[in-house]
């Protein structure tokens, strides 16, 4: 039998007081543990300038993590752009690649978008990839499907220098940038695509972006 209890009881500490003190102690323990362990994902945007849309001195930066082959990402594009359009002079949108491993064509598409970015057409190319997703990345996947002719055709449509585009798409710079983004996505444990950060708050999935996004953006603007 624990003897400490009897000793304290002898000093007039009632069970009720002891229970309340214990509850307070346990709750404090939990609160402190969570406060110490709290993970607030911070992106610390290291994206190249061509992936930045909006004023350079924006007070609110929306950090988008998307995969060009992800249908939900394509679906969410209008809502994400609408978030930035809520106050285009104060909000910037930054794109980060989060190509999912189960999407075979996501990395080539991301590298193609990087190659377009090097010629100043990242956003136009990204829009094209999302719009024509079913064309270059059919769902369900088709065995032996090669997205490359489509990726080159989109570049030509946008008036990009095809030879430079191909060289960049196959070069180490675009590979490194996509890999770095993927590492960032892994480090901050992106739960799903698309994910958008509004300051240190997270919107996970297209439904949260549509439903909670405007409120989060307003909160960020009000700060």
């Amino acid at each position: 039998m624990p003897c400490g209890g009897l000793h304290l009881q002898g000093q007039g500490v009632t069970p009720r007081v002891r229970r309340a003190a214990t509850a307070a102690g346990l709750l404090t323990t939990l609160a402190v543990a969570v406060a110490i362990g709290r993970q607030t994902p911070s992106v610390a945007s290291g994206a190249p300038p061509y992936r930045w849309l909006g004023p350079p001195n924006a007070t609110v930066v929306l950090e988008e993590f998307s995969d060009f082959e992800c249908p939900k990402c394509a679906q969410a594009q209008t809502d994400i752009k609408n978030l930035q359009n809520a106050a285009p002079d104060r909000i910037a949108l930054v794109f980060h690649h989060a190509p999912l491993r189960q999407h075979a064509h996501a990395v080539p598409a991301a590298r193609a978008a990087e190659a377009a970015g090097l010629q100043g057409k990242f956003w136009e190319y990204a829009e094209r990839l999302f719009e024509r997703q079913k064309e270059w990345a059919p769902h369900p996947p088709v065995a032996g499907h090669d997205p490359r002719p489509f990726l080159l055709a989109y570049a030509r449509d946008l008036g990009l220098d095809a030879a430079r585009f191909t060289a960049d798409m196959d070069g180490t710079l675009t590979a490194d940038r996509v890999r770095q983004d993927r590492e960032t996505a892994d480090r901050i444990a992106i739960p799903a695509t698309p994910t958008v950060f509004v300051k240190d708050r997270m919107l996970v999935g297209s439904s949260q972006i549509a439903s909670l996004g405007p409120r989060f953006v307003q909160w960020a603007l009000d700060q």
Partner: protein
């Protein structure tokens, strides 16, 4: 039941309540330290809760899990905590069972958030049934051995 058997059951209940308690603390903690929206997105995969409830639930449930789990671990209000834990595990079982019956495409039950082990719904269903049964055993046990309850009010246990 002979005193010896009762003592054995009491000891087993005291030791076995640690497991469901630890699982609850662990799973609640891993979710509580991450943004609530992350767990809300996992909850939305079950297609059972109204969207407006997802974030408030994602904020509250991890704390309830941690509190109930810690009470079980330390033996603070053991019988009430064990009953609450059994109800929690029961609710999880209902959630998972409906997902399995509807054949929802889920590779991760989301029980441990994004940081913990990614268990399939069927695996978690079995685990939750076992842990829920241990909680029922702890709720039934009046001895509450190795518990804070005994330290808080020893007189109550001396009467038995």
């Amino acid at each position: 039941m002979t005193p010896r058997v009762r003592a054995g059951v009491g000891l087993a209940a005291a030791v076995l309540r640690l497991l469901p308690g630890a699982v609850l603390v662990f799973s609640g903690f891993l979710k509580a330290i991450r943004p609530a929206e992350e767990f809300a997105a996992l909850l939305s995969n079950y297609w059972i809760l109204p969207p407006a409830l997802l974030v408030p639930l994602a904020r509250g449930v991890p704390w309830v899990e941690m509190w109930v789990g810690l009470c079980l671990l330390t033996g603070f209000g053991v019988r009430r905590a064990a009953t609450a834990a059994a109800v929690l595990y029961g609710a999880f079982v209902v959630f998972l069972a409906q997902a399995l019956l509807r054949q929802l495409p889920m590779n991760d039950c989301g029980c441990f958030g994004r940081l913990g082990p990614a268990l399939r719904p069927a695996q978690t269903l079995v685990m939750d049934i076992v842990l829920g049964a241990l909680c029922v055993l702890a709720a039934w046990d009046r001895e509450a051995r190795f518990s804070l309850d005994r330290w808080i009010d020893p007189a109550r246990f001396n009467k038995n």
